[in-house]
Symmetry: C2
Subunit: 455 residues, 2 copies
């Protein structure tokens, strides 16, 4: 799909011209993921028209690719019978997510209409916290018993996989009480001699996660060990489901977004229903942005108080005031670069606390080198512009000091926060920028005052 | 592994006490991914000691989990024969990456020592650009012919998968000239009646990538369609290899890091050999940080020029200068929040150009609301502090205007850049912060001057 805007125009034309057959042909020619993209650009009534023109299997697929809010909206708009049929075609974990996002009575109504077995499985999934393994796992797992032969196991899989739309990554081995005892890759199963016992070829070294494990922790395990599926067990080691790599992709994206938001001083966990900051309620978005701005306000009032102590300086030499934004701007920028390198390095695991000193040294040298270059530049420009070499030197020295201090603060703060077991990302943007502002101003104005006293 | 610091202490003790047997037992008890973490914290000579104490299969696994620089370093330090054996145990794509990171003569020496078939396959992989599908794919693909029966296909797979350590996701179907003609999931193959032909059960609707496709593009396809493996073909539709989801994980992490770095004004593509910014050469790190700082320098000199026009104001009422950091700080922060929301939203696909106006409206209302609250706060605090209601009102109004304008600039700029097909992330940090500084200062000082003229 090269140009989504053109596609949408064409689809909107077909809707307006009421040519259902052509519309249906056009829509069914796209991949479900593309249709999901298209749906997000359509108006609600257009979506409604389109969803009824897509084959049901594909429509369920499209629903799966849509963001949660739109899933609930579309299912609420179409007639209940079609909605039930679409929900019953979703993978268990998706169906549970969709129903979990609906109003209680609405989801109950659907659950009552769904096939008995499916609905009871979904009801169980709904009992788990949606941010835990239980909330993201799919309960359909391909299991065999450890005393089966390879031949029997293959036959069992053939029958089970045909009946239910299961994802096949590994085959899990359980005892008769459904305790997880081993795991066999499909590859090993296919290549093993038919007469061997499963217990002979299975691995007992199983990495597993617990139904109550939080999704961030699970994502870390997936990223670190590069698994493509992991079994989920309860307290008694009963196999309850599997979490697959595609469930994790969304979580990793979510966590990255949270990290980026936090670094920019946007609060990601307000404790209320997770309203999306781009599409959710405006009040929610505003509340997410005020806390760190408020802290900045307090910090910057300190800067104002510091600067105000030098009112006589501003009166004597007003150009001193004019240079304040220059110093604050560059200090803030180089400090932000340092914070970003540190916070990201910690989040990807490239920076460990134990190598903290190394990074502090490295960043300080960087700050000092760049600061020296910019200090000389600023000195020369100021000298040429104001015809005042002393002023040039003061601004230049302040620039070098400022940039060096800014890199040091930007490097140390995330390390200290990490040591204190606080998310280093909260250090970014607001707090450090303000700290750098205050210290930078103090350094600069002290230098200036010293100079004025000595001329 | 709960506490890596303790583990490292224990391992270092074992190395010092020269108790090889215990060291070997301790090391072999960890998962390779954990060992890779441990290795990153050890000194070079400790690593050397450890790698020889690990079973070779596992040692190769550990190498695979290590960052590129360390891979090359360790393989260069151990004796060449062991190094060759470890390289030959790596998956093809990893082996090619490792050899590609070495000096030309060093990698040639290894290639000459490796088994004939393996080395010629690696040589082919090395001809591709390492950022393209050819550079990240593995050439071992499980293929069957379309005229085989299911039974024959299963037998073929059994033999092939046993011989070579292949990853099994899908089975690809080729004609006798190795043209890709179809794909069958392992699940469908296992559940299909034995006597059917592969051509009856295969899907001809194949999503495939080209050897020259860039990795960022491939990552987007994986993330959007949620595949776990994709076939790679050349210009003539010959099947050359597969790219799997775990190759993509690293790329997604890399791309996210690039996005975050770019947003903080760090240049990620200097065009030289990709030196890592945290561990690579210091000169490289410094060069990556200077360009946007230099642009900030120019921008802030404009701010200085603007501010300097108001030198008489500073002389008359020096407290006016003291308030400059407050206005710049809050404008910068709320502007950064807006940019972050926009850039991230575009990168995850949540914001499309077509909904630009909606977001501009939404952000403007947000900026105005928060700006109004902060304007009132600042007015009251300034009034109480300076006992000057007019000054309070001026700072307050400037604050409201500043924050509103900052959100608008922060929202519009990424949209405009995107429209111009420039990476919106470059808008962040440096440029916008500086623009907001300049405009904010101009608004504030204009207000002040107007006030001074009217008292």
């Amino acid at each position: 799909m090269t140009n989504i805007e053109n596609t949408i125009d064409r689809i909107q034309e077909l809707i307006e011209s009421d040519s259902d057959k052509q519309l249906s042909e056009e829509l069914n020619s796209y991949h479900s993921a593309d249709l999901a993209d298209i749906f997000q650009q359509l108006k609600p009534e257009e979506r409604l028209k389109c969803i009824t023109q897509i084959e049901e299997e594909k429509a369920a697929d499209v629903i799966e690719y849509l963001p949660p809010q739109l899933q609930v909206e579309i299912l609420g708009d179409i007639d209940t019978e079609l909605a039930s049929r679409l929900i019953s075609k979703l993978p268990h974990d998706e169906a549970a997510d969709v129903l979990g996002d609906m109003e209680e009575d609405e989801s109950q109504a659907y659950l009552d209409q769904l096939p008995q077995k499916f609905s009871s499985e979904i009801r169980e999934l709904l009992t788990y916290n949606e941010d835990t393994a239980g909330g993201i796992m799919t309960p359909l797992v391909l299991t065999v018993y450890d005393n089966m032969t390879v031949k029997d196991a293959l036959e069992t899989i053939r029958i089970k996989a045909e009946k239910e739309n299961m994802e096949l990554y590994y085959v899990y081995v359980v005892d008769k009480h459904n305790h997880l005892t081993g795991v066999v890759s499909l590859r090993n199963l296919i290549t093993a001699p038919m007469e061997l016992n499963i217990s002979d070829i299975m691995s007992k070294d199983i990495v597993k996660i617990h139904v109550d494990d939080y999704q961030g922790h699970i994502a870390d395990i997936f990223m670190k060990y590069q698994f493509n599926a992991l079994p989920v067990v309860d307290l008694y080691d009963h196999l309850k489901g599997i979490v697959t790599w595609d469930d994790i992709q969304d979580i990793v994206e979510e966590e990255t977004t949270d990290e980026i938001y936090t670094s920019s001083g946007i609060v990601t966990d307000l404790g209320d229903d997770d309203d999306d900051l781009l599409t959710g309620s405006l009040a929610h978005s505003i509340r997410a942005r005020i806390p760190w701005l408020f802290i900045t306000l307090i910090g910057e009032f300190i800067a104002v108080t510091v600067a105000n102590k030098y009112d006589k300086t501003f009166t004597a030499l007003p150009v001193i005031a004019a240079f304040m934004p220059l110093l604050a701007g560059l200090g803030g920028n180089i400090g932000t670069q340092s914070i970003t390198l540190m916070v990201r390095g910690m989040s990807t695991g490239q920076i460990a606390l134990s190598s903290g000193w190394h990074h502090i040294m490295r960043e300080t040298i960087t700050g000092l080198s760049i600061g020296a270059v910019f200090g000389v530049l600023v000195t020369l420009v100021t000298w040429g512009w104001q015809h005042n070499i002393e002023l040039g030197l003061i601004v230049g020295v302040a620039m070098t000091l400022n940039m060096t201090i800014a890199t040091m603060i930007g490097t140390c703060t995330p390390l200290v926060l990490k040591k204190m077991k606080i998310d280093p990302a909260v250090a970014s943007g607001p707090v450090i920028a303000t700290t750098i502002d205050v210290i930078g101003l103090a350094v600069y104005l002290t230098l200036v005052t010293w100079y004025l006293l000595h001329i």
